[in-house]
């Protein structure tokens, strides 16, 4: 076996914070062969990004490599300085960042930025660099590259920006690419295109790649070897098939269980030991609807136009029965958030009507809806748990707020009991109630958000990507919680998401939205197994599954 391209040996990275030193990486040892794509998988705080940053020497000032070495072609990266370091950045290894739009300079044309990267490392004329930049844009398959050369980052979509980032990263033919969550925040279809492109380019140019991601499915699709990290340690290293079929470490077992596959059910998302009483709740048959019961929610020909622009939503109709769960999926800009906010009566529809429990509520201005008796029946769980809690409210205040406003409870024992009951139902430890949001973890904040939404005992819960910002293991718990609430309280769930795996598990019916128009709807299982329209098929196929048939995209080329 030849010498590996990159060899990290017993790496320790320490950050100095006010609470003293924090070890972010504690003893990571791994090797990357030339031309290989290695998946570095872990949840937030696992130290995967820090490992990547340490390798490229881009750690911020508070972080320091305290022990171990990083050998790149036999040379210790941690000891480089001056010209050697400059050569290392870009020419020998380069990095692709999570948010492409903020990684690009907003006031410089993208062609210029690529040319700048080339000129830093090569002594060629500006014209030559420009020509090379054009060539690179072509290589990353940007349509009409001549025109795009002069475009600014804000004129390009997220996926396009990430292609430009890839072009910059490969501009000097580095031997190693480090991609840190390169597709997080992109739509599934865009994610697939960008990752396919990255894999193709890396394979064609013989570049080794470290793919840092929280998404096991994504790593499985593109990497032949996956390294799993937990709290700064490397817990398991294996080929995807071995990892999924026979995970050895308990953490890997949990992670594999929590990652949804094309066939998993909600109860599968935790390991058997943790499953407990949940199974019985799921097995209980649904109470039959009395015949002739009117549907809980009827939406008729809903439309929304902002200012004088094109319609964000056009002609949206649906019905929901009590206790039913419906998924609303689509890519960003498909109008799913607008629709959910109209149904939640936070914004006014331009046309159409919303009938809740037999009464029209679509014509009550959203400005006055807080006085409507139905306000407490329709509640919402918001997207990013980090932004959905008032920073000046404790967890208790957050949950108590709707109880005070909508149920009319006053400060006192009755209120405290209701809040504690809600906290218990969502599995929030009671001793966390006096804490402020910044003292809670992401999963705990998500639970507070759900507790607040169910506090007033609503009949319809609208969920706007409630798990998008959460780690998979936390997502698994939150999904089970939602499903249990639906079954126990006969709560109707309208689940807005771009994560099709999650929708398929949680929702009985699914509506696919594109450009504000419904393209397909029906039973979730049927819709995903046998999509009728091309668009839905594209969406379904783009989901990276941790399927056991390892279809390595790079290998197939």
């Amino acid at each position: 076996m030849t010498q590996p391209l990159l060899k990290i040996d017993n790496l320790h990275v320490t950050f100095s914070t006010r609470r003293g030193l924090v070890e972010a990486v504690r003893g990571v040892t791994l090797a990357v062969e030339p031309g290989e794509m290695l998946g570095l998988v872990g949840e937030s705080g696992s130290g995967k990004s820090v490992t990547g940053f340490a390798t490229t020497r881009l750690l911020d000032a508070a972080g320091r490599v305290t022990a171990g070495e990083i050998l790149f072609r036999g040379q210790d990266v941690t000891k480089l300085s001056g010209d050697d370091l400059r050569h290392l950045h870009g020419a020998a290894m380069s990095m692709i960042f999570q948010n492409p739009r903020s990684a690009l300079n907003p006031i410089r044309a993208v062609g210029q930025q690529i040319a700048d990267a080339i000129l830093t490392h090569k002594r060629i004329s500006k014209q030559a660099a420009h020509a090379e930049a054009l060539e690179l844009l072509r290589a990353v398959q940007i349509r009409d590259p001549e025109r795009r050369m002069a475009a600014y980052p804000h004129e390009l979509s997220g996926g396009m920006c990430q292609r430009v980032m890839i072009a910059i990263a490969i501009s000097c033919n580095p031997a190693l690419l480090i991609a840190d969550e390169p597709t997080t925040g992109l739509d599934v279809t865009t994610q697939k295109v960008v990752m396919d492109l990255l894999a193709t380019i890396a394979a064609a140019r013989g570049m080794a790649t470290i793919l840092i991601t929280h998404d096991l499915g994504l790593a499985a699709r593109y990497c032949r070897r996956i390294v799993v990290m937990e709290r700064g340690r490397l817990v398991e290293e294996a080929a995807p098939t071995t990892l999924f079929n026979h995970p050895r470490h308990p953490y890997t077992k949990r992670l594999v269980a929590a990652s949804p596959t094309a066939h998993s059910r909600i109860e599968d998302l935790v390991t058997e030991e943790e499953r407990g009483p949940y199974v019985e709740i799921v097995r209980k048959p649904k109470p039959p609807q009395a015949p002739g019961t009117p549907p809980l929610l009827v939406v008729q020909k809903l439309a929304k136009r902002f200012d004088q622009g094109a319609a964000a939503v056009a002609d949206f109709s649906m019905t929901m029965a009590a206790g039913e769960s419906v998924g609303l999926v689509g890519e960003s800009g498909s109008g799913k958030s607008t629709t959910s906010r109209m149904i939640c009566r936070l914004i006014d529809p331009s046309e159409g009507d919303i009938v809740f429990d037999g009464q029209s509520i679509g014509h009550v201005p959203s400005r006055d809806f807080h006085r409507s008796p139905f306000r407490k029946d329709i509640q919402m769980v918001f997207q990013d748990p980090n932004e959905s809690l008032n920073p000046r409210f404790t967890a208790h205040d957050c949950i108590a707020h709707p109880l005070k406003r909508l149920v009319g409870l006053r400060e006192g024992d009755a209120l405290r009991q209701r809040v504690e009951e809600c906290a218990q139902r969502v599995g929030l430890p009671l001793d966390l109630l006096p804490r402020f949001p910044h003292q809670l973890s992401g999963g705990q904040k998500a639970r507070v958000g759900i507790a607040r939404a169910i506090a007033a005992r609503p009949r319809l819960l609208v969920l706007d990507e409630p798990t998008a910002a959460l780690d998979v293991s936390v997502q698994a718990v939150v999904l089970q919680l939602l499903d249990r609430l639906r079954r126990e309280d006969n709560l109707a769930l309208l689940f807005v998401s771009h994560d099709l795996n999650v929708v398929r598990m949680l929702c009985e019916r699914t509506i696919v939205l594109r450009n504000g128009i419904i393209v397909e709807e029906g039973n979730s299982r049927a819709l995903f197994d046998d999509p009728k329209t091309d668009y839905t098929r594209e969406l379904v196929e783009a989901i990276p599954h941790i399927e056991i048939e390892t279809r390595l995209a790079a290998a197939a080329l």
């Binding site: 914070t17 006010r18 609470r19 906010r341 939640c344 936070l346 400005r367 807080h370 006085r371 306000r375 407490k376 329709i378 509640q379 919402m380 918001f382 997207q383 990013d384 748990p385 932004e387 959905s388 809690l389 008032n390 920073p391 000046r392 409210f393 707020h401 709707p402 406003r405 909508l406 402020f436 910044h438 958000g449 607040r452 939404a453 007033a456």
Partner: protein
């Protein structure tokens, strides 16, 4: 919460000890403003021509002026008036600016555009000239100095509150407040305003120094407090006549007092920004 906030403040102060010095300076300024008349060695208004224009000495720490009044005593007593003008002017513009700005930032649309253009017009004026004109038109009284100072500060508060609310209005917790049954008005007043208060407090501290300068400036040009009331601006104005004859202490000490007051408020504002910046928290 209070203990963590305290620990956080101490951590910041250790990295930026100047903030502590500035806080001490502001506290002693407030102390002199409250207790000044009781701690001064001489009557600040009583003239004594036999003692006129004495240079600084152990007896008269900052010398005496042309009427034989002790400059040091006048400096101490003036703190109350200068601080009172600055604090009331800044509070006035803060309350008005925060409310108007918050509603503009939350509502957007036509209200926001109208108020925004109005603010732009105001800022296009030389603000000190505007204050001069207002005091001249309304009359040479302390209330009018306060009103004029408040008005010329107003645009900054409106803009600041507008920007701070604008970035928060689409956050989940704002929408959550509405789905919990709050009206638009109570969302602004009871949810958004308290959240922008820390940032506004920083702005206020930075602004206080400026307001003191402004009040002193108005007095300096004769539009403001009238002699013989001790006030830093008037003291500088009156002392300016004696610079050419080498009586520097008449101007230097009130000038120094002004400078220190402004500096302390500015440094405190900077330090508060560090303490209150959520990104500095763990």
């Amino acid at each position: 919460m209070t203990t963590t906030a305290l620990r956080h403040s101490i951590w910041i102060l250790r990295g930026n000890p100047l903030t502590g010095v500035a806080a001490a300076g502001v506290l002693s300024l407030i102390f002199t403003a409250i207790f000044g008349p009781w701690i001064v060695p001489y009557d600040p208004i009583a003239s004594n021509v036999s003692q006129a224009l004495l240079p600084p000495s152990a007896e008269h720490l900052a010398g005496t002026d042309q009427l034989g009044r002790d400059v040091f005593s006048r400096l101490i007593v003036a703190a109350r008036l200068d601080l009172a003008i600055a604090v009331s002017a800044v509070s006035l513009s803060f309350v008005l600016g925060a409310v108007v700005g918050s509603f503009c930032g939350y509502a957007g649309g036509r209200l926001d555009r109208t108020v925004g253009r109005f603010v732009d017009v105001m800022m296009a004026f030389p603000l000190f000239v505007l204050a001069m004109a207002m005091v001249a038109a309304l009359g040479n009284r302390v209330e009018n100095i306060i009103i004029a100072t408040a008005v010329i500060n107003l645009p900054f508060y409106i803009r600041f509150a507008r920007a701070e609310v604008n970035v928060r209005r689409n956050l989940g917790w704002v929408e959550a407040a509405r789905s919990s049954g709050e009206s638009h008005i109570s969302v602004v007043l009871r949810f958004l305003l308290p959240n922008i208060l820390p940032a506004m407090a920083v702005q206020m501290s930075l602004n206080l120094g400026w307001a003191i300068l402004n009040a002193a400036g108005l007095s300096f040009i004769g539009l403001g407090v009238k002699p013989p009331t001790p006030e830093w601006g008037i003291m500088v104005a009156e002392g300016a006549r004696f610079i050419s004859t080498g009586r520097w202490w008449l101007v230097a000490f009130p000038g120094l007092a002004l400078m220190l007051a402004v500096l302390c408020f500015n440094l405190l504002g900077d330090g508060m920004r560090d303490i209150l910046d959520p990104r500095m928290r763990t």
